[in-house]
Structure formats: structure tokens, C-alpha cells
Symmetry: C2
Subunit: 324 residues, 2 copies
């Protein structure tokens, strides 16, 4: 028996299908293969022929299929890794091909909308366990993924009440074996917390990069040249896939708008303090936010790189942040 | 002759004084010593006795002084590395101790206010060359600095018209020899561009971290635990020194408020697009911001760590950004 309660010599899943093979899809394929946890076949589908061709070259999956239906045929588990706005159409297509007992999961950043779109279409006997790895990078495409991206990162599962406990446990075990810290939580709570930790930061980053872009040419070039002063951290986030992020914002609208409202209020308060030269209040506020940073560092979620959290062992300046 | 036009065997400066020895001050001391560019003595002053004691232990400077006046005594160049709000008081103290022909410079993130505060107090025969290295990390204190932090980074100089050209050239050469790309520019332009690339990003980061802090305890812990989704990049920036940043905002008020106004308008537009489900507009905007990211990467200002820009040679995901 392994720590997750499943016998080591008994595979959790034998055939896994990845639907949508960008950065995350290819990371899932690579991670599952590297873990060698009983999966003997990784089938893949991507709607982009160029990606399918590239997958053949990369050799990170065992078979590449022309349709999502073909890819899930005979699979014990299917993992949706395309933008969340595509799930409903994909479900329509794959539903007749999913075998009884199969598990369906995903890696989407929003969960309420996914449950809303997918659950009604899940065939009887198929177990739907929505999921979200809080990991990845801003780069796109199958070349951008890597096997260790989930190591030390949280992988959140949001199954509805009444979901087959065995299916949930097997999904938990699968992602634990690729190095993730798996937690089960409520979908609404997930969406609220992620609106704050991920969706709002991305929206802000996109905005500030856009603001910086709307200046005259000379200034724009200097904004890029002097980006090490803080701006470049925002450009990294704002370099993420446009389709994926459009779908996230449209599908977690309420939580994002609520957090945005709070943010705007807080920003307005700071703006006023700057305008009126209230240095003490600014100082007090900046001191408080510093505590949050300490919390992040202590939670070991500060790593320089997604595949090696905390690998720098406290080397000075190892987090790469330029703050001037 | 070296590339900067100064004879290699003739030192640019012999005795250098660092006033304020936190992260940047200690980096200046370390960098100058490592470069071995003729400086034979680094004198240091910090108003904090604990920092002075630590400097004795670290051995990164040649002498530690109880007053700023003592530290600049006999110095060919003095470098102000304390928060910009302290400059005026320090100038009052050091002015009588600066020898004719000495050069005065600084590393502050705002330049108009520095010129306003310092220039009137500069004694005749002393050359004031305001400066700003676009480098550093969010960590504070003399242990946080390192010699190579300026390598490949911009170091901007904003001397007033009529400043002794020889003095400017020697400061340029000094920082070039620690690896920086030195550029001379107008102080007002500097403050405007840096408001966009550094001050506004910091303000936004402080705000969002504050917003995330004002939730109930359980949620706050989860915000920290799931911070790899984008939030942690903001916490890093928001972990910067509160005094330094208070002084920056108060001393670049006009440019910061103007950029903040533009940002708020842009954010409001995005907010409206999300509320009304205008996916096409969102997608178009996110595609445009991605181009800016490409520009930053192409300008080689994207490095994972301040002392090794571009050292990752394009390893997948090497920029450490988690975007989900």
C-alpha cells in the first residue's frame, strides 16, 4: 500500500485521455508519464492540427486523435485541459464515447461554471470530479509544459455532493503521485478565493500593461527598457493565453466583479492618501502588506520557478524581484 | 584607455562614501569593491546602530562612521542610498564636510524631488549627479545586497543642465564598470516613465495584497496557500521597504496620480466588458498586452533573478510565473 491508500501495484487508471494539449495539457501528459503510476497509455486530442502534429514530434503522448470522441474511447480517465469556454461543446461530443465507470476531470481555473456546463451532460456511470491545479506558467502551447510543474503545488478538487467517493479518491491519488498537494473543497469557495489570488491579479496585470502601452512610441520603448522596476512582473502575468483568460473572466464574473470592487475602494483610499500627503497612513499600510509576503514565504509558495518551489534555499535576492 | 574613455590605471574615484546601507547601499559597496575600479576605500554611514554593527561584521566596507559628515570627509564621491525623504536632512549635515571637486550622487527612485531638495544645498565646487539604478530586490537591510545586482540593468542619471561634464562622465564610467547600462536623461521624463514602470506597479501590488488581507481568517490563509496563481508575484513586490516606498509616492505624487488615473479608466473599461460579457473585446485586449510581454523578453529585462538576467537560456517556464 502507498500513502494514498491504493496498492502500489494496482494502477489507478490505465488509459488517460488529455483533451486540449497546451501548456497544462502537455504538463499533465508529461507528469503522468514521469510518475509511472500505472497509466500505460496517454491519448491526446487538440483541435489545432498544428498542435496535433507537434505532439507526434514531441512524443509525450502515446496516441494523437482527430476527434475528442476518439481520444476518450476506452479511457479510464479523461482530463479537460482546454479553455473552460470549450467544455460544453466537448462534452456534447465525448459523452457517447465515455465508458461506464470512467472518470472525468479538468484543470480549469473556475469551477462553478464548469459544474454548471458539464454536470448535466455527464452520462450515467461516469464520475465527474472537477479539478484545478494552482500551477503552470504564462507560456502557451505543448512545448511549454513540463513534468514537475505540479510538484509542491496545490491541486484543488470540487466534486459535487454525492459524487462517487472512490472516483474522487483515485483522482486525488493520481495528482498526489505527480507531486501535488490535493485538497477537496466547495466550488463556490474555490471561485471566491481564486478570484482574489489569481483572477483579480491577472486582470490588474493585463490592465497595467495596457495602460503602459497607450503612451507615445518613445515612452513605450522606455517602459519596456526600464521594466525591471516592477513592471516586468506584470508583463509576465499579462503574457498568458488570451482565450483561456477571457473564458475565466466570463465564467467567474460575479466573484471577479466583487473582488474588483473591493480592490477599487482600497486603491481609491491609497490614492487619496498620496494626494493629501498622508505619509503615516501609507507607511502603516505598506508595513501590513509586508506581513502577507512573509506568510507566502513561510507557506513555501514563493518559489522562483514553478518546478522548483523553494529550490533557492534563501539565496539573497533569489526571488528575482526588482523593486526600484 | 578603457571603453569608457578613462585610462584604466587612473582611478575614477579613490574614496567613496555610502550614506544609508540597506539593500542598495550594501550592493553599491559590494559592487564597487568587486569591480576593483580604483576605489581604495569605501566609507559608510547608516543612522541605525544595528546596521552599523552588522557592517563591521560583514566586512563589506572599509570604515563605518557614526555620522554622515564623518563618512563623507575626504571622499571623492558620496552616494546617498537612504529613502529619498531623508536627503534634505542629510545634505544639511554633510554639506560642510564635502570637499571641493567631490561628486555627489544617489540611487533614489524619484529624481525631480531629489533635485528640488538637494541641489540648493550643494556647496560650490561639488558636482551633483542624481542617479537611479533600475535594479534591486524587495528585501531590506545590508545582508540583502549583492555585487552583481546592477549587471545588465539600466542606471539612469539625471544631471541638471550645466552640470560639470567630467563629473557626469566619471559617474557614468563608475556604474558602467559595475555592469550597468548607464543612460543620461531628463529628470521629469524619468519620473514619468518610472511612475509607469515601477511606482504604479508597486502601488497596485500593495493595494491588491491589502485587499486580500481584509477577508476572514480562513480565507486569508487560503489566499496565502493558493498564492501561486498570480498573487504571490504581487506579494513579492509588496514586501518592499515601507519607508522607501512611502517616500517615493510622496515625492512623485503628480506623475503617480496621473498614471493612476489612466489605469483606473482602463480598469473600469475592462470591468464593464466583463459585466456585459464582451468576450471579443477582452480577447483583443489580452492579445495586445501579450505583445508588450514579448517586447520585455526581447529587451532582455525579463530575468528570473536580478543578478543573472537571461541566465536561464530559455528553459521552459524559467521565469517562474504561475498563471492559473
Amino acid at each position: 500500500m502507498t500513502r494514498d491508500g491504493f496498492p502500489k501495484d494496482e494502477p489507478l487508471f490505465r488509459r488517460l485521455a488529455v483533451i486540449g494539449v497546451g501548456n497544462l495539457g502537455s504538463s499533465v501528459a508529461r507528469a503522468v508519464r514521469k510518475a509511472g503510476n500505472g497509466v500505460t497509455h496517454v491519448a491526446a486530442y487538440d483541435r489545432d492540427p498544428a498542435v496535433r502534429a507537434r505532439l507526434q514530434e514531441l512524443g509525450i503522448v502515446d496516441s494523437v486523435h482527430e476527434t475528442a470522441g476518439d481520444a476518450v474511447e476506452g479511457a479510464d480517465i479523461a482530463v479537460f485541459c482546454s479553455p473552460v469556454g470549450t467544455y460544453r461543446a466537448i462534452m456534447d461530443e465525448v459523452a457517447p464515447h465515455l465508458q461506464p465507470g470512467a472518470v472525468l476531470t479538468d484543470v480549469g481555473s473556475v469551477k462553478m461554471a464548469v459544474v454548471r456546463d458539464v454536470s448535466p451532460l455527464v452520462p450515467a456511470g461516469v464520475h465527474f470530479v472537477p479539478g484545478h491545479p494552482v500551477a503552470g506558467s504564462e507560456k502557451s502551447g505543448p512545448d511549454a509544459g513540463f513534468a514537475d510543474v505540479f510538484r509542491g503545488r496545490y491541486w484543488l478538487l470540487t466534486p459535487e455532493e454525492g459524487t462517487d467517493a472512490g472516483a474522487v479518491a483515485r483522482v486525488e491519488a493520481l495528482w498526489s503521485r505527480v507531486g501535488a498537494i490535493v485538497e477537496v473543497m466547495d466550488a463556490a469557495y474555490h471561485d471566491k478565493v481564486l478570484a482574489l489570488t489569481s483572477h483579480l491579479p491577472h486582470l490588474i496585470a493585463y490592465t497595467i500593461v495596457g495602460t503602459a502601452f497607450d503612451v507615445e512610441e518613445q515612452e513605450r520603448q522606455d517602459v519596456i527598457r526600464f521594466s525591471a522596476g516592477g513592471f516586468r512582473d506584470f508583463t509576465r502575468i499579462a503574457g498568458s493565453d488570451p482565450t483561456m483568460w477571457r473564458d475565466i473572466f466570463l465564467n467567474n464574473k460575479d466573484a471577479v466583479l466583487e473582488m474588483l470592487q473591493r480592490f477599487t475602494e482600497d486603491l481609491t483610499a491609497l490614492q487619496r492618501q498620496i494626494r493629501w500627503g498622508e505619509g503615516d497612513k501609507l507607511h502603516e499600510f505598506f508595513t501590513r502588506t509586508r506581513e502577507v509576503r512573509r506568510g507566502v514565504v513561510e507557506a513555501h509558495q514563493e518559489g522562483t520557478s514553478p518546478w522548483a518551489p523553494g529550490a533557492n534555499g534563501g539565496k539573497p535576492g533569489s526571488e528575482g524581484g526588482n523593486t526600484k
